[in-house]
């Protein structure tokens, strides 16, 4: 039995979502592989944009609209700008390079495999054979807001201090004198 037939038999109401997830997952994995194999640092950053965008699309599929918007706004909008500036600040030469691959890639691969194992174990251990509920209610931004301004009010205020510390740290490092 093919995979699609199996999915269609198990959860017929989620078939379009499963197909969409398949497409997004393929884009994400291909972009991630291109990101680590490309010889141009800026291209790697742009492939990372594609990976982050497909993660945002996955959030949409999971009916988490606000998280998806945040992913696009903060990660693709702001963090990528920060990373590109970081590349421009630290490397004089931007373009194709031959010395991006070196011996440490095996250690990097090992770390990635370990991370995959740990995350897979955590997910399987926590969810096991659990299934998505038959009816999924999309979470609205207002519900997210209610959570922030009741349960997570202290972390919310702590974030402002964290951001302040990051900015002051950058200013101290970057100042001329």
């Amino acid at each position: 039995m093919s995979l699609f037939a199996l999915i269609a038999q198990e959860t017929p109401q989620f078939l379009p979502q499963n197909i969409a997830f398949g497409v997004i997952a393929v884009i994400s994995v291909v972009a991630a592989l291109k990101m680590v194999t490309t010889s141009n640092v800026v291209h790697a950053a742009l492939y990372l944009v594609l990976v982050l965008a497909s993660v945002a699309a996955t959030y949409i599929l999971l009916a988490a609209e606000f998280v998806a918007a945040t992913q696009i706004l903060v990660y693709i909008g702001a963090v990528m700008v920060l990373m590109l500036f970081g590349v421009m600040l630290t490397r004089a030469q931007i373009g194709a390079e031959d010395d991006l691959n070196h011996d440490q890639r095996w250690i990097g691969g090992l770390v990635a495999a370990l991370l995959l194992a740990v995350m897979s174990y955590a997910l399987i251990d926590h969810y096991g054979d659990d299934r998505l509920p038959e009816t999924i209610v999309p979470q609205t931004t207002a519900e997210v807001s209610d959570e922030i301004f009741s349960t997570y009010i202290v972390p919310f205020e702590a974030i402002s201090v964290l951001l302040l510390a990051a900015l002051i740290g950058a200013i101290v490092v970057a100042r001329r004198d």
């Binding site: 700008v81 301004f149 205020e157 402002s160 900015l167």
Partner: protein, 122 residues
Amino acid sequence: MYSDFLRDYLIVVFFGILAFAVVGAFIGLASLVRPDRPSEAKNTAYESGVDPVDGGWSQSQIRYYIFALLFVMFDVEAVFIFPWATRLEEYGMFGLVEMTIFIFILALGLGYAWRKGVLRWV
């Protein structure tokens, strides 16, 4: 409700596919009719007719990083203001005070950057 939600985003997907299709169709159509004679000289940067020296990239100044970080900071601030704005009337005074504290602490960073003169460009 969930399928309605996804149907809304299906329109976004269709628009995305349409955008790629239109661009692809026009570039593909153009490549059929335009002459194609690539040469090394056509790929060089145009600098008022003078042959360019060195590459187009150079190491940029660290001060750009401060502006990028300021952008990240206020981007995250905006992310928290959006959900707050949807429930502003229900929270009343409590929400106003909480958000004022949040914005004030972040504004301290901007004030610090101002006082230290890193916002001055020249």
